[in-house]
Structure formats: C-alpha cells, structure tokens
C-alpha cells in the first residue's frame, strides 16, 4: 500500500511537472528554442498572484486568473522583444538570452518581494483522503491540481487540433515559410504561442506554490524548471502527450527515490534521471520522431 501511495502522490506531483514540460514543449516545437526563462517567468507570475492574495486580500481565484493573464502577456512580450530580434542567429544566442531573462526576473522579484521565503495558502485542503481507515496520499488540493492541468491540456488539444487558429499555429510551427505563403501571419501566431505556453507555466507555478508552506522565493522554481525539462526530454521534447507521460514518470520516480533512498538528494536524482534518459534514448521515451530519425 505504501508503494501504491507513493505512486499516487508522485503522479500528482508529476502532473505539475507535466504542465511545465508542456510550456517548454510548446515553444520548442514552434521555434526550436528551449525557454530556460520559463522557471523565472512562472516564479514571477506566481509572486504576482501571491501579492494580490496575501498582501492585498484578493480572492484566490482572482489571483489565479491574474497570474494566468500575466503569463500570457509576459510570454508574448518576451517573444516580441527578446526572441524576435535574435531569430536566425547562432543557436547559442537564445540559450543565453533566456538564461539572462531568468537571472533578471529572479533579481527583479528579489528587489520587489525580497529573497526570503513566503507561503501561498492553497484554496483546497491539503489533508489526505481516507478510504475506510486507509490513508491515501492524495488531497483535495491535489485533486484540483490534477483537474486543472488536465483541463488545460484538453483545452489546448482542442485549440490546436480542431480550430482554424490551431491549424495556423501548427502550420507556422512546422513550416513558417509555407505558412506565410498561405496567408498565415506567422509572427503573430508565434507571439500567441509564447503567450499560451507561459500561461500554462503560470498555472503550474500557482498550483505548486500551494502544496508546501514556505514554498515561494525567487529561486524556488529553479528545481521545477529542471524537473519540467526532464519531463519534456523524457517525452521527446516535441510531443504534448509525451510531456504529460514524462511528467508523470518523473514525478513517480522522484517520489520513490525520495522515499526509498533519501530526500536530501532530490535535485541530484533529477540530474541522474535526465542523464540516463539522454544516454539511453536522446530523443525521449515516447517520441514519434525517434522512429523517423533512426
């Protein structure tokens, strides 16, 4: 039963990693850029929500919605102002720009909100469920997390697969030149893509911030970025479904190692898992392109 419990709670954490992974995958797929600033961006939007809820007495839902909108705007602005000008340059340039943005956002957050830790109270209870006398490592708050992330994923799926704008977004991602010849305003859709990705990231930030007292501070989300990256790589980096599967897998593995080896090594495991995956299957465990590339 403990094992099953660990799998359940690991998977619940993994859903959040999946959301971060999805934010990375959406941008990677459309621009071939890995957004290292994603951790900083979702940290910043989470702080905005926290500021509203805890310093200005706003309702939790207001905070959440504002964080999502802030993510949308932040993502769009980042694409327009920072990414657009370096398009077509050496591939190392976006890596450095997004890392620079990570440093900048963490520093600015530290300037505004200080570098100490703060707590973001969750909207739902963190007390675990019981089935009969048996404790299940799953709480109403985690139920909300799972539903919220899955809901967003379904919404994005519908948007991408079943709407004209989704078709345009995919066309611009896969073949921008042909898309332009067909009248698609590729630039705008890239901006929208960054906005949507950052919005998913913002959701992950607010959700995970509530799971532990004292979670948030400007550097607290570095680990989440790496976990999300690992999940994305496990899933093949270009597949949204892979991101979900990767997130769940990483969450479960992390929980098992934390429990059976030691929680002190948490961030070291992430490195090991990433290393093992990249050595065994550099294109991810679930990637379709793996087949194509071979």
């Amino acid at each position: 039963m403990t094992f099953l419990n660990l799998v359940i709670s690991g998977a619940a954490n993994g859903v959040v990693y999946a959301a971060v992974a999805l934010a990375l995958v959406l941008i990677w797929r459309s621009t071939g850029i890995l957004n290292f600033a994603q951790g900083g961006m979702l940290m910043f939007t989470t702080f905005i929500a926290w500021d509203l809820v805890h310093l200005h007495g706003a309702n939790y839902w207001v905070g959440l919605v504002v964080a999502l909108l802030a993510g949308l705007v932040l993502g769009a602005v980042v694409e327009r102002v920072l990414i657009r000008p370096i398009e077509g340059g050496p591939p190392i340039n976006p890596v450095i720009v997004t890392l620079g943005l990570l440093l900048l956002l963490e520093a600015v957050a530290g300037m505004i909100w200080g570098s100490g830790v703060s707590s973001f109270a969750p909207e739902f209870s963190l007390n675990d469920y019981h089935v009969g006398h048996q404790l299940i490592l799953f709480s109403p708050d985690y139920l909300f997390i799972v539903l919220a992330v899955l809901g967003v994923m379904v919404a994005l799926y519908v948007l991408f697969q079943h709407t004209p704008i989704g078709l345009r977004m995919r066309a611009s991602a896969f073949n921008p030149e042909v898309a332009r010849l067909l009248g698609v305003r590729v630039g705008r859709l890239l901006t929208l893509g960054w906005g949507l990705a950052a919005m998913v990231g913002a959701l992950a930030g607010v959700l995970i911030a509530g799971t532990q007292p004292g979670y948030i501070n400007p550097n607290a989300f570095d680990g989440l970025l790496i976990l999300g990256f690992t999940a994305a790589v496990v899933g093949g980096l270009d597949s949204p479904l892979g991101a979900l599967a990767g997130g769940l897998l990483v969450g479960v593995i992390q929980q098992l190692l934390d429990n059976y080896v030691s929680i002190d090594l948490d961030s070291f495991y992430t490195f090991v898992v990433l290393l093992v995956v990249l050595m065994l299957r550099p294109s991810g465990l679930f990637s379709r392109t793996a087949v194509r590339r071979v």
């Binding site: 890596v95 440093l103 956002l105 530290g110 680990g223 002190d264 961030s267």
Partner: protein, 342 residues
C-alpha cells in the same frame, strides 16, 4: 627576435612572466581590501577562461561549471581539513589535485555531453549545477562533507610574514596566469585547431580524421579543470566551503562574464571577470548613493548580469569583442574606401 616570433610557447611564457611580475609588484601598494578583490578577480578568471575555451572554441555550452568549482573547492577543503599544517609548497599539490579531480568529473560529464547538442547540453549541465551541490546534504555523506554547515579548515600561513591578503592575491594571480598561459598555448596548438574545427563543422572535422567525441570530451575536461582550480582557490581564500556557495546563478555569472568579454577570447575572459567581480561592489556603492533598500542593492548585480546577457546578445550577437571588432572593421573600411570614392 625571430625566435620569439616563431615560438608562441616562448612568447606566451615571457608575456605571462612579465604580467605576473607587474601584478605581483602592484599588490605591494594595494590595500587589503583591494588585494582581496584582486584575488577574487583572479579566481573568476580561471573559471571564465575555461568556460570561454569550451563554449567559444569548441562550441559546447556548459551551465554547470559552477558544479566543477564545487568539486574543486570540496577537494581542497577535504585535503586541508585532513592535513592541518599544509605548507605553501604542498598547497601547489593541493590545488593541482582540485583541478585534477574536477577534470575527472568533467571528463565523465563530457562523455555524456559529447552526445548532446545545444539545448539538451545546456539543460543537463544546468541540472548538474543544481544537483551536484546537493550531495553534501545527503545523510550518509554528511559526516564526511559537513552537510549544510560545510567544511572549515586552515589555509597555509603566508611565507616569511607576508601580509595575508597580499599572499592570497599572489596565490590566485599565479593560478590565473598559469591557467591563461596554458590555455593560450592550448588554443594555438593542434588541439585548439581541433576544437575550432569541431565547432565550425562537425561533419567536415570528422571527415578530416578528427574524433569529434574525443575532442569534445577533452574540451569539457579542460574546462572543468579550470573551474576546479577556481573552486580550489576560492576555498583557499575563504577558509571554508558551503553547499550553498555554488548556486545556479554562480554558473550563470560565469557564462555572463564569458559573454561580456566575447566568447572564445582569453583577454575577454579577463575583462568579463573584472566586470562580474566588481559589479556587486559598484552596485553597493550605487545603492548607497541613492539610499536604496537592501533587497534592491543585493539583487542589483544579478539584475545587471541578466540584463547584460540579454543586451549583449541583442546588440553584439558575436560578443562584445566581436562587436568591437566589427565596428573597428567598419571604421577601417570606411577610411579605406573614402579616398577611392573621391
């Protein structure tokens, strides 16, 4: 004279000796505080020079050189803690050990890195930078590695009653000059050419008979050794090492320094290190002049690193030196074409 021109080894050696002599003489007139700053710059130069060779010459990115500094620092920490009374001659061996252990770690990571490109490599080295400093906190290692509180130890006493801070500056300057000297020769040598060939075009490099993977692993090893030495020097001048002394932002500030100076140039590594090391002090002064709150002042340097990385890429996609060189070339061409146009 012609011998000098032909032998880069000799020329670099003389240059290094002259530079070292001047700097060591200069430390005499500096305050303790300035000597400490000089020591810190020299430490940063070691790490940044290694990174700039890796990223600028061999074309691989590493966001994890802070982790190799961590390895070097803990190597020195452990050796000095268990060997109290180490003298200055033995310190050379201790520092060499820090470079060596980090080189081994770098070689291991390099094996993985050689199979990875661009963002994958960036991601895994970032994971390394975050994950490795967690090791001392592991309960089974806590006894040996000191856990959260880190390691405390005594560095050797300065020889012949020399001023302590001046001695620190000496040790670090010698370390930095030796590093620069070796890297300068390396980059001029066959190995350096191999680095560049692999960076410019892996396929034609391998067609030319180079083992791309081996070249890339070597570059990683060299870079890690430099970072390890930097970490070792860092430990020596601080007298302690802490897991929290090696955050991700350390690795990223090394990258910032390399980018500020122009990726791939050793002189750029020096400029970049000076900027990155002095920035916290400047921001402190600035914050005091404008009486900013502490939290602003404390975060100002990092904000400048971040903004600097971004602006550097937007304004000078080839690095500041590349940019300066381009402006220089433009000016020269303008001068050259003018008479022809008239």
């Amino acid at each position: 004279m012609s011998l000098l021109r032909r032998s880069t080894l000799l020329r670099n050696g003389l240059l290094a000796l002259c530079g070292l002599g001047i700097m060591l003489a200069v430390t005499e007139g500096l305050s303790d505080y300035r000597n400490t700053q000089l020591a810190n710059i020299a430490v940063t130069v070691c790490a940044v020079a290694g990174l700039t060779v890796l990223t600028g010459l061999s074309g691989q990115i590493s966001l994890g050189n802070g982790a190799f500094m961590f390895v070097g620092a803990y190597t020195v920490g452990l050796l000095l803690m268990h060997n109290p009374g180490t003298n200055n001659g033995e310190l050379v061996l201790v520092l060499a050990a820090s470079a060596l252990v980090a080189a081994v770690a770098g070689g291991l990571v390099g094996v993985a890195a050689a199979r990875l490109r661009g963002p994958y490599l960036a991601g895994i080295t970032l994971a390394l930078a975050l994950g490795l400093p967690a090791l001392p906190e592991y309960s089974h290692f806590q006894g040996k590695l000191g856990g959260h509180a880190g390691l405390n130890f005594l560095a050797p006493n300065p020889p012949g009653g020399m001023n302590f801070f001046r001695w620190q500056a000496w040790v670090c300057l010698i370390g930095a000059v030796v590093t620069l000297f070796l890297l300068a020769n390396l980059s001029r040598s066959r190995v350096g050419r191999a680095f560049r060939a692999v960076r410019d075009d892996e396929i034609s490099a391998s067609l030319a008979g180079l083992s791309v993977a081996r070249v890339q692993i070597l570059a990683f090893t060299v870079s890690a050794a430099c970072a390890g030495l930097a970490g070792g020097l860092f430990a020596v001048i601080n007298g302690n090492v802490l897991p929290s002394g090696f955050p991700i932002s350390l690795s990223l500030s090394l990258l910032a320094a390399a980018v500020f100076g122009g990726l791939g140039t050793l002189s750029g590594a020096v400029y970049g290190s000076i900027i990155v090391t002095l920035l916290p002090q400047w921001s402190y002064d600035l914050a005091h002049a404008f009486s900013m709150p502490d939290r602003v002042q404390l975060n100002l340097p990092q904000a400048v690193y971040g903004a600097g990385l971004i602006l550097g890429m937007l304004l000078f996609p080839l690095g500041i030196q590349g940019g300066v060189r381009r402006i220089w070339a433009l000016g020269r061409n303008a001068l050259r074409t003018k008479p022809a146009g008239n």
